[in-house]
Symmetry: C2
Subunit: 260 residues, 2 copies
């Protein structure tokens, strides 16, 4: 029987507020067994770009990662956020080990091809981009990998990569070895049936229901890429995907996405 | 018989110049077998402190690591320098994995006690601060740990730590498992008999000779802490300490320090 592996993704909100971050770290420490944490950047990186006088580069309304921006987000995500998280996790008894995709070549990305827009130093993840063997070695040594949203191309170039994509690609890559549960943590208790009612969490969604909820316009537009991504992970062998509040991971309120 | 482990320490100069950094990475890739790289910060961090308007805090002529400074050096060392080095090493065929001391609790430091001066968030390393087991696991998995000069106290606090001290403490901690050779790389070809003659490299120094060279004033004042540190590492079981040029690690010109 395969062991359970919990992959958690956290983003802004919890990363931007020290008290929330420590509350999350305590909750995360109570999750038993093998686990991986993937984190985005939070608002701090944008503030720092501003403090350094680096103007946001926008093309057709999309943010571009130029060389100066990549430098700052690498420092912020892989340096500050990752190391502060790891130190906090260590203090709470989780043997965390921070990684970018370059470390141990654990996530090798492809610089996004230029079509209409040149996104700059942004990395996309092909299906075989994750070294599941290395993550398995670390997990079996009792370590908790903490992945930031920086990858590399194997040719010496670091790349900025979406943290949701990293979480689902890692979850999929490990599905052959573990019974993987993928947790997208955010600032709401789950997927809401009514965007104006925080208590309207849908406890479980199956693919047919999801199609119907989308057709009915129940799912908020911003949630659709996240949920499409989540159902694709289920299709690819991930056992369960959970959408939940970052500070309530050990509570029952959440949305569980199921394969059928 | 114990396997050989080479521990290299690099600092400013090679880190501040991209062409030199890539030249070092190529040379380092040619060093066979198990190896660890420890790096300092270079001048970039000081420039960034200036760009962010963070004034250097000095007490009695010594630089203090206050909270804002720690933030920046963590970003710079653990984020930018470490990840750029790791990505460059990967591209040159070395399976590098970057670590701060917090990662996997690999180096646990003690915040420097306040005596005459409060140095702020600076970490000193007791003899048992390094997790040799974890470094051994990574080395035996074919990885090359790349350690930056940031450690932690195990209570959630990151600490700025001298990179020479990290290199020698790591070398000492691994001396029971490996035949360790510790390499301090800098911008000269070795210890010079005549500070004004770059060709006057002393090929080998034994402890008795070192005492004599110090007494005669031959050793430059700035080299004394480095060499004291190096001979202490030899006393503690490190097999060999080498002082050499960062871009000539595979050449014969160097100073080898021997136990006797």
């Amino acid at each position: 029987m395969k062991q359970v592996l919990n992959v958690f993704k956290i983003g802004g909100g919890v990363l931007d507020d020290e008290a929330q971050l420590h509350a999350f770290v305590r909750e995360f420490g109570q999750v038993a067994g093998r686990k991986i944490l993937v984190h985005g950047g939070g608002k701090g990186a944008s503030q720092m770009l501003q403090d350094l006088g680096i103007q946001p580069q926008m093309v057709q309304g999309r943010r571009i990662t130029d060389a100066a921006t990549l430098d700052v987000v690498t420092m912020f995500y892989a340096g500050k956020t990752n190391k502060q998280l790891v130190a906090a996790l260590q203090s709470a008894g989780t043997n965390a080990l921070g990684l970018s995709g370059a470390d141990g070549n654990v996530i090798r990305a492809i610089k996004r091809p230029v079509k209409d827009i040149d996104y700059g130093f942004v990395g996309d993840l092909p299906a075989d981009s994750v070294d599941a063997g290395l993550l398995g070695t670390l997990l079996e040594a009792g370590l908790t990998p903490v992945l930031c949203a920086i990858t590399h191309d194997g040719q010496g170039q670091l790349l900025n990569t979406n943290a949701d994509t990293i979480a689902s690609t890692v979850a999929r890559a490990l599905a052959a070895r573990y019974e993987v549960e993928l947790h997208f943590c955010f600032e709401k208790d789950g997927v809401l049936a009514d965007i104006n009612d925080e208590a309207s969490v849908i406890p479980e969604i199956q693919p047919a229901q999801y199609a119907q909820l989308k057709a009915e316009g129940v799912i908020a537009a911003g949630m659709i890429p996240k949920l499409d991504n989540a159902f694709a992970a289920l299709e690819a062998g991930v056992e369960k995907v959970v959408i939940e509040h970052a500070l309530k991971i050990n509570q029952l309120v959440k949305t569980v996405l199921c394969r059928s």
